[in-house]
């Protein structure tokens, strides 16, 4: 089990809860903690109610816990909207500002100890003081984040606003901390007696090499590190940060980004750049992926490498753009018309986004195929403290280029039948390598053809290159060795992993298989990983069990294998998955 502390800062728009939350998370990172922060907003474009949802721990954590230990409310805005998202733990502490009216029903009826602190009054008492900095002081004290770390972070973040702003903020932090310790009856500030693994805020150490970032930034970085030098962008929540991150960074490594007029254009611009030999990526979400589908089929047929990072959100249609759901596996794998095998991968956590994005680029380039990377809102937009990826991010995957084509007796065969299905590629600029890439069924030379031999031959070739390829150990992550197994993917991996740890702690050993390669299904690896398993649970964050059905289509799963899935918008929590595991175990015991 991961002992951790979860807290929520809520307030209406402009109250600054997101700033306070992020500074707290950053300070925790400086103090050697792990943790994460999700943002929850109301439907307003600007303003409206907002909640910063944090979890801090001394061991790596990459998913929200079952419930919250602390709620700091700057005001009560439309708190009802967050009630579902804010289950409070038994004995949770609720800090309410009496100046903001009584504690609303939805909160008061939950199991928590309510303490009053006049947050806005405390801020008013300090010239230039702001309530969110008082709230930050309160939260830091109760979450046991050393005051020194918070101060260091605040000083740095506010430096450009001048000394007075910094001094006011520091005074607010102190006022908040003192008030929190007083009303909750805690003794000395925890930072006065630091726990053994709390690092002094100023002290350098390996913890300062940790990354503090969200999955969207990590995805952009992984792609860049693996060689992407072109991006065509059309904004869509929750994928836009990938595009914005790349826009600022691509020029620094000699790459370029174009804002396209729509996703029909962005995918085709990527196809054009990649046809020109420049590794390309675009990022989108469900509605945009739907528009790209026809052209993804073109990339399969014309064998053009590219990566689409699809950051999933609640669907169908416009759905819930700001909430997570693992809902696009079906379209990613099966959405293309005709028979168009390609690669679909998914990162298994925020910390895995950079390596998986890099792998996606390398697979696309090696296999000359589109690769769809399925991230989701939870991975993409949760700012998380993670260990940096070890080793080189995949740069091995390079296109197989044809050597200068000198054989004047024969024109270049772009789609030559090869044993491994990969045909050496040419690229504009290379003399003698001219060909016409085509989405029409074609001969080895790329000339349109309706002959059965060409059609079947090229279908076989494109399937062969994906099936014969050795994907290596990255196909999935394995943990544990029980005879009950859980199979999962993407952001569900983290709550599942925690559920397995908790099961283990109660004496129930569970084997975890988190798939990174979703298509083609790594059937033999999966079957080997499930050897000796008595029963299996397939866990995912959607309404219809898309991975379960996908695996049933391509592999033999142990009997029984149960599907456990639930749609968004609420995040998957370890406790409910643990319940499902215990249920499966009880069922097996009863049958035995």
């Amino acid at each position: 089990m991961t002992p951790s502390f979860s807290l929520a800062l809520t307030g209406s728009g402009g109250a600054g809860v997101m700033t306070a939350g992020q500074l707290l998370l950053d300070a925790a990172a400086l103090a050697g903690r792990y943790g994460l922060m999700a943002r929850s907003f109301g439907p307003q474009i600007r303003g409206g109610e907002a909640a910063a949802l944090l979890r801090l721990a001394r061991r790596p954590v990459e998913c929200p816990d079952d419930d919250y230990d602390l709620l700091v409310a700057l005001d009560w805005g439309n708190i009802e909207r967050f009630a579902d998202e804010l289950p409070l733990a038994a004995g949770a502490v609720i800090i309410a500002d009496p100046g903001q009216g009584g504690v609303p029903e939805v909160i008061a009826t939950q199991a928590g100890r309510i303490h009053e602190i006049a947050i806005s009054q405390l801020a008013r008492d300090i010239p230039g003081g702001r309530p969110n900095m008082v709230a930050l002081g309160i939260a830091a004290a109760l979450a046991d984040v050393p005051g020194g770390a918070v101060e260091t972070r605040v000083r740095q973040a506010l430096a450009r606003h001048g000394d007075e702003s910094v001094a006011a903020a520091i005074a607010c932090l102190a006022a908040g901390r003192a008030a929190a310790l007083e009303v909750t009856g805690h003794g000395d500030p925890p930072s006065a007696a630091p726990s053994e693994d709390t690092v002094d805020a100023g002290a350098p150490g390996p913890h300062l090499d940790r990354w503090v970032l969200n999955g969207n930034e990590a995805t952009g970085f992984g792609a860049l590190a693996a060689g992407v030098r072109f991006c065509a962008a059309y904004p869509i929540t929750p994928a836009t940060e990938i595009l914005e991150w790349l826009a600022g960074r691509l020029p620094r490594v000699g790459g370029r980004l174009v804002q396209a007029e729509d996703e029909l254009a962005s995918i085709n611009m990527c196809i054009g750049a990649s046809f020109g030999g420049v590794p390309a990526l675009t990022a989108t979400a469900g509605p945009g992926l739907s528009l790209m589908i026809e052209s993804l089929g073109l990339a399969v047929a014309a064998e053009v490498p590219l990566v689409v990072a699809n950051v999933m959100r609640g669907g169908p249609s416009t759905g819930i753009p700001t909430k997570s759901e693992q809902t696009d596996l079906n379209i990613a794998v099966y959405g293309l018309h005709g028979e168009a095998p390609h690669v679909v991968v998914a990162p298994t956590g925020v910390g895995d986004c950079a390596p998986t994005a890099a792998w996606a680029v390398s697979l696309a380039e090696t296999l000359q195929t589109p690769v769809i990377l399925l991230s989701d809102q939870a991975l993409g937009q949760t700012r998380t403290i993670v260990d940096p990826p070890g080793g080189e991010l995949a740069r091995a995957g390079r296109r197989r280029y044809v050597a200068r084509h000198d054989d004047s007796t024969e024109t270049y065969r772009r789609y030559a039948m090869t044993a491994d299905g990969i045909s050496p590629m040419s690229c504009p600029g290379l003399p003698g390598g001219q060909y016409t890439a085509d989405g029409l069924t074609h001969t080895e030379h790329g000339i349109p053809s309706t002959r059965a031999e060409d059609h079947v031959g090229q279908l076989d070739k494109r399937r062969r290159k994906l099936e014969e390829y050795d994907y290596g150990p990255l196909w999935g992550d394995l943990h544990g060795a029980g005879d009950i197994a859980v199979i999962t993917w993407g952001s569900a991996t983290q709550p599942v992993r925690e559920a397995c740890q908790r099961a283990e702690a109660c004496g129930l050993a569970v084997r975890l298989v988190a798939l990174r390669l979703l298509s083609p299904v790594p059937a033999s690896e999966l079957e080997a990983a499930l050897g000796g398993v008595r029963a299996c649970l397939v866990v995912e964050h959607n309404h219809s069990g898309q991975l379960y059905r996908h695996l049933r289509a391509w592999t033999e799963l142990p009997h029984p294998t149960l599907a456990w899935h639930r749609p968004g918008p609420l995040p998957l929590r370890p406790g409910e998955i643990l319940g499902a595991l215990q249920g499966l175990h009880a069922q097996l015991e009863a049958a035995a």
Binding site: W211, G272, T436
Partner: protein, 291 residues
């Protein structure tokens, strides 16, 4: 390879036999294009012709340069991606009026605005040839030759030159496939233009619009390149749709997308620096980080 001295128009043709109907106007366009490329002395491997879907979009495979035959309506974005990623190449997008003005119409507007360095050659036959004769955006509202719209499409015809002018294209011309020499000259000018160059080519579909065989009698070389956009609009007020020549040539191409690329320095060092931006150390006050 120095192509200039040696290559003839036929060297820019491939061995693949066109699927076009005998007498199709697109043959003339292919001839004009190969003439233009030979005239400019471009090495075939430095040229890419990008198309969508339609009879006219089959053209790339009939050339010996790099070609891309994509999906219906998306020639311009593919060409834009290539031109932006590989600015040293000569990029020519091509296809039909259905491909470019109907399903791909949005891309046409934005390509005019974006002004990437590429040429867009539309073979306009005012019909969907490949799908056997339906009305296209440039068909007259009363053209009743299609089973799909037996009383004519009934909606105003698309006016490519006006629209290109409004959308900001820097080079706008009209040619005729029955005049390969004149067309080759216009194409050479369009290709040499440092920005987005649009060329509408009247290219008869003798199968579904046999009356277009009369185009020869209707076209007249009347446009003289204007440098003022408003004057070009005025010139179009008296255009019957058959005037050929370069209508508009912006003296200074509108600013192309800014090239923010830095000189290819040490990529590994740049990537290391980017990775450092993520580190907790950055949150302590060594600058460069904004929450």
């Amino acid at each position: 390879m120095s192509a200039a001295a040696v290559l003839k128009p036929k060297d820019y043709k491939s061995a693949t036999r066109p699927v076009w109907c005998p007498g199709c106007g697109d043959f003339g366009v292919l001839n004009a294009l190969t003439k233009a490329l030979a005239g400019l002395g471009l090495a075939p491997e430095q040229v890419a012709v990008i198309s969508g879907i339609g009879c006219s979009s089959r053209l790339p495979a009939y050339t010996s340069v790099y070609g891309f035959h994509g999906v219906h309506g998306r020639a311009l974005p593919v060409a834009t991606g290539l031109a932006v990623a590989r600015p040293e190449l000569t990029v020519i997008a091509t296809g039909g009026d259905g491909d470019g003005f109907s399903i791909g119409g949005n891309h046409f507007l934005h390509a005019c605005r974006r002004n990437a360095n590429l040429t867009y050659l539309i073979m306009d036959n005012a019909v969907y040839g490949m799908t056997k004769g339906q009305a296209s955006p440039t068909s007259a509202p009363d053209w009743a030759g299609s089973k799909l719209t037996p009383n004519g499409p009934g909606i105003a015809a698309f006016r490519p030159l006006e629209i290109a002018l409004s959308a900001g294209a820097g080079f706008i011309a009209r040619g005729f496939s029955g005049d390969p020499n004149g067309l080759a000259r216009q194409l050479a000018e369009a290709i040499s233009y440092p920005g987005f160059a649009f060329l509408q080519v009247l290219s008869p579909c003798i199968t579904y619009r046999p009356e277009q065989m009369e185009y020869k009698a209707l076209v007249s070389a009347g446009f003289e390149p204007l440098a003022d956009r408003n004057e070009a609009f005025r010139r179009l007020l008296t255009d019957d749709g058959f005037t050929t020549g370069v209508l508009f040539r912006a003296p200074v191409a509108a600013p192309a997308p800014a090239d923010a690329r830095q000189a290819a320095g040490d990529e590994a060092a740049a990537l290391d620096a980017l990775a450092r931006e993520f580190t907790a150390a950055r949150l302590r006050g060594d600058g460069g980080y904004e929450p």
